[in-house]
């Protein structure tokens, strides 16, 4: 560890957004850099509680990532071209978070003489406020802002948290399974970029806009081979966003503050809901301010939404949320039907 210069950054205030581009919903994130700002690797976890975080990271896995970083550093700058794809996009809306109009009440430094915790910009606010700014300008949200940094699980790939980049599971009939990826494969490269962590894989997927071939170079039984995944155009549409801190505000915008959960197969059977039909139960309905729009429209916890803004086919909450916010603008009114105590009802929600 003494082979690194370690720095703990505790706030997003003054964060150079032309350099630090990562999944801002992560609760623990690491950048490995050369002093000339070249990015070697990213590392982190999306999870907020101990049990789930252990699903994605461990000291053993981090140590293996660090070993890989040292190898890249040793070979630098001869390997600079292979690192090109890992570098951040210099074209950003704002150079630092506090330049964003919705965050301009924050300063570049923390207020240690006053309310220091309250003077901190949290990483997730970077994307939250950018989304809000777009909505307030009367536009729909672009797909990448609604589906940031997909996890490889969307392709059927689960990584081993105790290793840097080793495949732990491959989902049956998944994109990865069809391409021939196997448990135990060491992912060395994706789209030519050296891969040292799950976060590195998310970076590649985040910059993958369209469907088509995606090449993974893996090491299997001591030999390297290329695995070519074939991505459909909507490959990331089922990416899970439920866990994200920032999804809370998307629910305000798109659902009037409701949190919806998909019916299980058992619930479908019990309630007589046809397979393939939308059935999302209101797990929570916001009570205050702009999060109480659904409540004011009459919605209650336990109501089962069976159509929303014209969408009637079965889908998880996150997919519906993205469809709504990617199609409708702030101020648009959408109709929904829901079932309460066996009776069908209607409501209308004005989107934010």
């Amino acid at each position: 560890m003494r082979q690194f210069v370690g720095v703990r950054v505790i706030q997003a205030n003054a964060m150079d957004l032309t350099l630090f581009q990562f999944d801002y919903d992560m609760s623990f994130a690491v950048h490995f850099l050369n002093a000339d700002r070249t990015v070697y690797a990213r590392y982190g976890s999306r999870r907020g509680n101990e049990e789930e975080a252990n699903d994605e990271m461990s000291l053993e896995g981090l140590a293996e990532t660090m070993t890989g970083v040292l190898a890249l550093h040793e070979a630098y700058p001869k390997n600079k071209t292979t690192l090109y794809g890992k570098q951040p996009n210099p074209d950003v809306p704002y150079p630092v978070p506090e330049k964003q109009p919705l965050l301009n009440n924050y300063k570049s430094k923390l207020d240690y003489d006053g309310k220091v915790a309250g003077s901190c910009i949290h990483c997730h606010q970077i994307r939250d406020t950018y989304r809000q700014e777009i909505r307030e300008s009367g536009k729909v949200l672009p797909h990448k802002l609604l589906t940031p940094y997909p996890l490889p699980s969307v392709l059927g790939i689960e990584m081993d948290p105790k290793r840097a980049a080793v495949v732990k599971e491959v989902g049956p009939n998944s994109v990865a399974a069809k391409a021939g990826l196997a448990v135990g494969d060491v992912v060395c490269q994706m789209r030519g970029q050296p891969i040292l962590s799950l976060a590195d894989m998310q970076w590649v997927l985040h910059s993958t806009a369209k469907g088509g071939p995606l090449t993974l170079r893996v090491e299997r039984h001591g030999e390297e081979k290329d695995i070519i995944l074939t991505l459909a155009d909507d490959w990331d549409h089922t990416s899970d966003i439920d866990w994200r801190v920032s999804t809370w505000d998307l629910r305000r915008m798109g659902f009037g503050g409701m949190r919806l959960v998909e019916f299980s197969a058992k619930e479908r059977q019990e309630q007589g809901v046809a397979e393939g039909a939308l059935a999302l139960r209101a797990k929570n309905v916001g009570k205050y301010g702009n999060h109480a729009v659904a409540k004011k429209a009459g919605m209650k916890i336990g109501d089962v939404v069976t159509s929303y803004a014209g969408f009637e086919e079965a889908m998880p909450e996150g997919v519906l949320l993205r469809k709504v916010l990617g199609k409708y603008k702030r101020g648009d009114k959408v109709s929904l039907t829901y079932v309460r105590d066996g009776r069908q009802k209607k409501a209308e929600i004005r989107l934010q």
Binding site: M1, R2, V7, F28, Y112
Partner: protein
């Protein structure tokens, strides 16, 4: 350094927090790291200069204040 990493990761994993105000925890966090010469606390420019001089890679941890 390893001890800090364990603590930082544990913090991110939602370890139980003592009953202190958030402001108190932020001040304690800074004081604790100030004693640790293996880490630069919240000063990226200084860390970059040290990395350049020592020809070492940087490990930048983004971890919220408590």
């Amino acid at each position: 350094m390893k001890r800090f990493l364990i603590l930082a990761m544990a913090g991110s994993l939602g370890a139980a927090e003592p009953k202190k105000t958030r402001d108190e925890m932020v001040h304690e966090d800074r004081a604790a790291l100030a004693e640790n010469d293996a880490w630069v606390y919240n000063d990226l420019a200084r860390a970059v200069a040290e990395a350049e001089k020592a020809k070492k890679p940087l490990m930048v941890i983004h971890r919220c204040i408590p």
